[in-house]
C-alpha cells in the first residue's frame, strides 16, 4: 500500500494524517468553546445522549423482560405499546430499549479494545522502528486484508457467543489494523521532533515518552478514531446478530431484525417490528460520523468557519 492509505479511515473519509502541531499546555477551554458552537458536534452528541438515556432508563420502568409475552400479538403502535408488538405479543419498544443498551456496550467495549490494540501496535511500531516495526507492520497488513466479518462468522459459529462483552472482544480483536497504521505514521513523524529527543535525553523510559510526549499530541485524533471504531463495532455486531450468530439470550437490534425477517414480519406488514431497530442503528452511527466531522473542525483550525 502506498502512504495514501493513512488518509482513508473507516468511513472512507480522510482522516488528518499530519500530526497536530505540538501546542504548549492544554487548550481545553478553547476546544470546549468551539465544540459548543459547532452544530455538528452538538447535534451528534444530543442524538447519542438521547439514545443512551433511553437505553439506560427505559428498561427500569417496566417489570417485564424484553422477551416476555405481554400483549396481544401483532398489534400496531398504540398508547400501551409505543412501537407495537411482535407476532408473539412481545413489546417491541421494550426490546428496542434493551437492544440500544447492548448496542452501546458493543460499541464501547469493541471500539475501545480495537482502539487500544491499534494504538499499542501503532505506538510501538512507530517509536521502535527497525525489525519490530517490520514485524508489526506485517501483522497489521495481514489483519487488514483478512475480511474481518468472515473470520468473525467462523469464530462465532464454532465458539458460540453467549454474552455481549464476548462478542465485543472478538470484534475488537479484528478491527484495529487501520488505527495501527495511522497511529504508526503519526508516531513516526513525531518521534524525531526536538521535544521528544529532549525527553529521551533526559532519561525518560520509552513508555513514558510515548505516554507523556507523543500520545498527548495526537489525543484529538485518537478520540476521533475511537468514535469511528465505535460506529464500526456497532455495525459489525448488528450484522453478526442479524445472521443469527450473536448472543441469543440478550436482545439486540440486529437480533430484532433477524426475528422480524425470520417470522416474516415483512409479508405480514408489521413494519413497526423491523423499522425501529435499523433506524436506531442508522441514527446512532450517523450521529457519530457527523460528530466526528464536527470535531475535526473543532480540532483543526484550518477547517473552521467554512
Amino acid at each position: 500500500m502506498t502512504d495514501t492509505t493513512e488518509h482513508v479511515s473507516a468511513t472512507g473519509a480522510p482522516a488528518p494524517a499530519e500530526p497536530v502541531t505540538p501546542v504548549a499546555g492544554p487548550r481545553r477551554r478553547d476546544v470546549l468553546h468551539f465544540a459548543l458552537r459547532n452544530r455538528k458536534v452538538v447535534g451528534g452528541t444530543v442524538v447519542i445522549l438521547a439514545f443512551l438515556v433511553l437505553g439506560l432508563v427505559a428498561p427500569f420502568f417496566t417489570d417485564h423482560g424484553p422477551n416476555e409475552y405481554v400483549g396481544p400479538p401483532s398489534s400496531p403502535p398504540s398508547a400501551d405499546f409505543w412501537f407495537g408488538t411482535t407476532t408473539f405479543g412481545q413489546d417491541v419498544f421494550l426490546q428496542f430499549a434493551n437492544g440500544i443498551r447492548s448496542t452501546f456496550v458493543v460499541g464501547l467495549l469493541g471500539g475501545g479494545l480495537a482502539g487500544l490494540i491499534g494504538m499499542t501496535i501503532g505506538f510501538v511500531a512507530g517509536y521502535r522502528g527497525g525489525l519490530v516495526d517490520e514485524l508489526l507492520n506485517m501483522l497489521t497488513n495481514i489483519v487488514l486484508v483478512l475480511p474481518a466479518l468472515a473470520v468473525l462468522i467462523i469464530l462465532h459459529a464454532y465458539v458460540g457467543i453467549t454474552s455481549v462483552p464476548m462478542q465485543a472482544l472478538f470484534i475488537g480483536l479484528f478491527s484495529w489494523p487501520w488505527v495501527a497504521r495511522a497511529v504508526r505514521a503519526q508516531t513516526f513523524s513525531l518521534r524525531s521532533r526536538e521535544f521528544v529527543d529532549l525527553a529521551r535525553l533526559s532519561g525518560m523510559r520509552p513508555l513514558a515518552v510515548i505516554r507523556r510526549e507523543i500520545a498527548p499530541n495526537m489525543s484529538s485524533y485518537l478520540f476521533m478514531t475511537f468514535i469511528l471504531l465505535f460506529g464500526g463495532a456497532v455495525l459489525m455486531a448488528a450484522t453478526l446478530d442479524f445472521i443469527g450468530l450473536g448472543p441469543t439470550d440478550v436482545v439486540s437490534l440486529g437480533l430484532m431484525m433477524n426475528s422480524a425477517v425470520h417470522w416474516s414480519a415483512l409479508h405480514l406488514g408489521l413494519w413497526w417490528w423491523f423499522v425501529p431497530p435499523g433506524a436506531a442503528i442508522t441514527a446512532i452511527v450517523g450521529a457519530l460520523y457527523v460528530m466526528n466531522v464536527g470535531l475535526d473542525e473543532v480540532f483543526n483550525p484550518k477547517l473552521r468557519e467554512m
Binding site: 502506498t2 486484508v145 440486529g254
Partner: protein, 330 residues
C-alpha cells in the same frame, strides 16, 4: 516495481496461510468438543448411532493422527480442491456447492461495487465547493453510509417489493422456473437481482461520495491548485486535476473497504434469500454444516485477496510514481 509486487504478493500469501491456519485451528483448539456439538445438534435419537458417527467425524477431521500431520493433510486436501462434504446438501462436495453459488454473489458484488464507486466519486466531486449540492448530498450520504446493509435491504424489500409490488423479494429467479437460456428466465433473474443490487449500491455510494468530497476540498487547497488558479487556468481544469489526484486514495480506500462490501453482500443475500454465498452461510449455520461454512470462508478470503491484487495492479497503472519505484514499497 518488482519489489512492490513482491512485497504485496508476500503479504497476500501470508494472509492466505493465516486464514487457512485459522480455519484449521478454530475447530480443533476452541473450548468444547466440536464433534460432540455436531452430534448433539443433529439430535440423533438412536444412541447406538452415536459411536459410528463419532468415529466418522473423527476420521473426517483426521483427529487420530499427530497434529502436524493433520495440518499437512489439511493443506494437501486443500490443493486437491477437497473441502469436505456438505452436511446440508449431503452428499454434494462443498466445493461444488460453493461454485454454484459464487456467480450470484459476483453478479451482485461487481456491479454494485464498481457503479457505486464511480457514481459516488462523481457526485462527491460535484458536491465539493458547491453549497446547495453539498447541503443536500452530504447529509444523505452520511445517512446512507451509516445504514446497516440488511436494514436498507429490508426496507427496500418491504417498500418496493411487498407494498408496491414492483419487485420479487426472495430467491434468485422465479420459483416456477428452472435455469435455462431463455429471455423469460433472464428477465426473472434481472428482476430478482435488482433490489439486492440497489441496496448494496446505495449504502456503498454514500461512503464514496463523502470520501471524494473531502478529498477534492483537500486537493483544491494544495499548492498546485492555487498555482494553476493564479496562472488563470479555468476552474474546470483545476477541478479535473484535483479529481484525478483524489482518485488515488479512493482506490486504496476501495481495497480497504472490500471486506466490508463483501460482508454487506452476505447479509443482503440473506434478506432477499438470494442464492449466493451469504445464503450458503445462513444455511450452513442453521444446519450446523461446518465444512460448508469453512469452505465459504476460504472462498471469501481468496476472493478478497485476488481483488486486492487486482487493485494493486490498477494502482500501478494509474499512479506513475509506483512505476518509477519512488513510492509504494510499504
Amino acid at each position: 516495481m518488482r519489489r512492490y509486487f513482491g512485497r504485496k504478493l508476500a503479504i497476500y500469501a501470508l494472509t492466505f496461510v493465516v486464514a487457512v491456519t485459522l480455519n484449521w485451528l478454530i475447530p480443533r483448539f476452541m473450548p468444547g468438543d466440536p464433534v460432540l456439538r455436531m452430534l448433539t445438534r443433529t439430535s440423533v435419537s438412536n444412541p447406538e448411532a452415536i459411536a459410528p458417527m463419532r468415529a466418522y467425524y473423527e476420521n473426517v477431521f483426521g483427529l487420530d493422527v499427530p497434529l502436524w500431520k493433520q495440518y499437512l493433510k489439511y493443506w494437501v486436501e486443500l490443493f486437491q480442491g477437497n473441502l469436505g462434504v456438505s452436511v446440508w446438501l449431503f452428499p454434494a462436495p462443498v466445493a461444488d456447492v460453493i461454485v454454484d453459488a459464487v456467480p450470484y454473489t459476483l453478479a451482485l458484488l461487481l456491479p454494485s461495487i464498481l457503479l457505486s464507486w464511480w457514481a459516488g466519486n462523481k457526485v462527491g466531486a460535484l458536491a465539493a465547493r458547491r453549497k446547495w449540492l453539498d447541503n443536500t448530498a452530504l447529509p444523505v450520504s452520511y445517512a446512507l453510509t451509516a445504514t446497516p446493509y440488511m436494514w436498507l435491504g429490508i426496507l427496500l424489500a418491504w417498500g418496493l417489493g411487498i407494498v408496491a409490488g414492483l419487485f420479487p423479494v426472495a430467491g434468485g429467479y422465479s420459483f416456477e422456473m428452472r435455469p435455462e437460456w431463455s429471455w423469460a428466465f433472464v428477465g426473472s433473474l434481472a428482476q430478482h437481482w435488482f433490489l439486492p443490487f440497489l441496496s448494496l449500491f446505495l449504502v456503498a455510494f454514500g461512503g464514496w461520495a463523502i470520501g471524494m468530497r473531502n478529498l477534492i476540498i483537500y486537493e483544491l487547497e494544495a499548492d498546485y491548485a492555487n498555482y494553476l488558479a493564479a496562472l488563470g487556468a479555468p476552474r474546470r481544469l483545476i477541478r479535473r486535476y484535483a479529481f484525478r489526484n483524489a482518485l488515488l486514495p479512493q482506490l486504496t480506500g476501495l481495497a480497504l473497504q472490500l471486506g466490508v462490501l463483501v460482508a454487506g453482500a452476505l447479509v443482503t443475500e440473506i434478506v432477499f434469500a438470494y442464492p449466493g454465498l451469504g445464503h450458503l452461510i445462513l444455511q450452513a449455520i442453521q444446519n450446523q454444516d461446518f465444512f460448508l461454512l469453512q469452505g465459504v470462508f476460504l472462498f471469501i478470503v481468496i476472493g478478497v485477496l485476488a481483488a486486492n491484487f487486482l487493485i494493486d495492479i490498477v494502482y500501478v497503472l494509474v499512479d506513475p510514481r509506483t512505476r518509477t519505484g519512488m513510492q509504494g514499497a510499504t
